[in-house]
Symmetry: C2
Subunit: 422 residues, 2 copies
């Protein structure tokens, strides 16, 4: 039996009862002969409460101090978890990100892990301890200041430690049973996925699936660490994310799932002179404001006017900033006006099988059309098709597509394509 | 203008408003040209809430993890305070005890400071920052584990940093105006003391005065760091504690104040054979149970029986443990029975003038007698007289003694003695 890294999110350790339940599960793994490293998030809403406090004392909290503040949350949960384990008669030691050797760059609030030197963790394990590590935090390489990895950073901590310790698996415990073929709150017939490739999981994460963050999956793929996403409230097998299917029966599905995202808005730049360099000027202005954009589409130019429209999508939270940046550059770029639309939704179909199966795209559009959903923008990758629709249409669109591709839990089997290309 | 260390307690930073008020005061000191190091406690009841959580997950929380847990409290307050200061346009950096170089032994929950290496604080100050340091915590020299200094430890952190940084003064900000001649909640006419010597302050602290902890005063005396105890809610001068009186008008009072303590209990060991080694056996049994005792009195032996009684006082919280330890040793020691009495109180008169002024002791007993207060035990040091009375008599006794020694705020002046000896 090798080493396992287990990660428990805030909802799993929301109160003393939760902590005791998690402690039992950890001890179980230890009893089964594993060396166990546990990464834990802050309890329940602790992080939000700390952010609220920060906003009360300062409208723009400084990054270094903000990180110092937030890391208190994991310090509390990890110490309580270690106590609860010791209370069950097993040895446990808790470690801050810094003590665990999680070395990051100096970008406060969203630092990136640049190295993991888990010497103290190794020693603790060798001495028979269960090691509890604070998720979401590290220490900066140059200044030795406390940093945080941004929301969802605990998953990344877990995967990074799993890589550094050469773990068999990184188990991500959460409040759902695994990764589903669609959001079960929207699609009642969504099914738990037994296995999914890193690539498909990356596309799902990028398309609005919230179970695993893109950065964490990326890290796991780079170091080839299998992730097992599962519920901390049940003993069920969850979803395995890895390079190769696990188990005999699991085969790669053509379509992994349908993701949706209603957190984006659309900006249309109206009346852009149709000449070289115009699009570049627009996206330079947006990039200079440090805004990440998602989809882009340029309409066909009307020959009579020589003007065109350019639309793109971006996180709603950055809408104001983007509008301001473009207004400032209006004269230089020379467009007519801006249109802002935050009533949009994005539906994405993800699956590596798309590459070799023709007809997926056509079936996708037909499903949307049959459901009466109008498409506003389209974007594709090798293993994903995404469309933008009205926000009101999203739930119906996801449900329709999920059903059309045979993903519903009462379907006999998924749709099978022959041939290559789509 | 030199360096000042300011310490703010939990009640001063109980909420966002408190933190902002304290931030303003700190900036004031900085504007006045001082280099400022601030030691801060956890917000309001945070520490108690964390202790409560720990008890929910484990009846006997492990020391190392308990310390890891508790130190989260100061991490929150120090980060928020640094943010609030930055919001006022001044540079501030927060440091954990470990980052500030507070090195301790490995006795978790009540570690002692063995060295302070404030290199990062010096650098922060030299770069023009206000340095905010987490009180109450350090890092153990041998294992590099997080430790806490026990209740009231933030005052000790402040004095230790003041010593290591060669500060002009260590300002202890609290929710009262300073050290009083008696507890103002009991004696309405109690006066704020302008200056008090380290020696008298040590006796007051040992006798039940809660404003400063004994350990903190001891540390300040050893390194000769003047302490200024004052309110964080007003701009008033508080009480200076130092070797030499400050200011022209301040002279050493004969009597510094009257302290009282109702946190102790009395155990009487009844029917102890009056022969050598008996007392030693009793106190060995108590000491082996790691109980600190305060006053001891042995009654005159009754010649007819050859038996005597021995009484001693100890913290109520340790009463159960002491009784158990003595019961276990009953046969070996050979006493008849134990009497436990937790309805006692202690009144202490403290003042260096006692050494050179006869009559203080007599006046003290007359004041108690006039107030109809019965004395059960007596203990004295060079600069202190303490008596044990019924708990119900304590308030009346303190008030009577305070008045008899001319300490009341409407007295023209304190009682003056001539001659030497008491």
């Amino acid at each position: 039996m090798g080493l396992v890294v287990q990660k428990y999110g805030g909802s799993s350790v929301a109160d003393a009862e939760g902590i005791k339940r998690v402690a039992k599960r950890i001890v179980e793994a230890k009893k089964n002969g594993h060396q166990v490293v546990v990464v834990v998030s802050a309890m329940g809403d602790t992080t939000d409460e700390l952010i609220d406090l920060a906003e009360q004392v300062s409208p723009m909290p400084a990054g270094r101090e903000f990180d110092m503040l937030l890391t208190a949350g994991e310090r509390i949960s990890m110490a309580l978890l270690a106590m609860a384990i010791k209370n069950l008669g097993h040895e446990a030691q808790s470690f801050t990100g810094s003590q665990a050797g999680v070395i990051t760059d100096s970008v406060h609030n969203k630092a990136r892990i640049i190295d993991v030197t888990p010497g103290r963790i190794r020693t603790a394990l060798d001495e028979g301890n269960i090691a509890i590590v604070a998720g979401f935090q590290g220490v900066s390489q140059d200044k030795k200041d406390i940093t945080t990895l941004g929301r969802g950073g605990s998953d990344t901590t877990a995967v990074a430690l799993a890589a550094a310790l050469d773990a068999e698996v990184c188990e991500i415990y959460t409040d759902v049973d695994g990764v589903f073929t669609a959001d079960p709150r929207v699609v009642k017939k969504a099914k738990k996925i037994d296995w999914i490739s890193f690539e498909d999981m990356l596309e799902l994460a990028a398309s609005g699936s919230k179970v695993l963050l893109h950065r964490c999956v990326e890290y796991a793929r780079r170091y080839n660490i299998p992730i097992h996403v599962r519920s901390s409230f049940s003993g069920l097998q969850g979803t395995w994310v890895s390079n190769e299917p696990t188990g005999d029966k699991v085969e790669q599905a053509i379509i992994s799932g349908v993701a949706h995202d209603t957190s984006e808005a659309k900006i249309t730049v109206v009346g852009v002179p149709d000449k070289p360099g115009e699009a570049a000027a627009i996206f330079r202005a947006v990039a200079d404001a440090e805004i990440n954009i998602d989809m882009i589409v340029q309409n066909v130019s009307a020959a009579s006017t020589g003007l065109t429209d350019i639309s793109f999508t971006l996180p709603k939270a950055e809408g104001r900033k983007a509008i301001d940046a473009l207004e400032k550059a209006k004269t230089a770029i020379g467009f007519d006006s801006l249109r802002y639309d935050d009533q949009i939704g994005k539906i994405s179909l993800v699956g590596a099988g798309m590459k070799t199966n023709p007809g997926v795209t056509a079936d996708f559009f037909r499903a949307l059309s049959d459901a009466g959903v109008n498409i506003e923008l389209i974007s594709t990758s090798e293993i994903r098709i995404s469309v933008v629709t009205r926000a009101d249409d999203v739930n119906e669109a996801v449900t329709a597509v999920h059903s059309a591709f045979g993903l519903d839990s009462d379907s006999d089997e998924a749709v099978v394509y022959g041939g290559t290309g789509r």
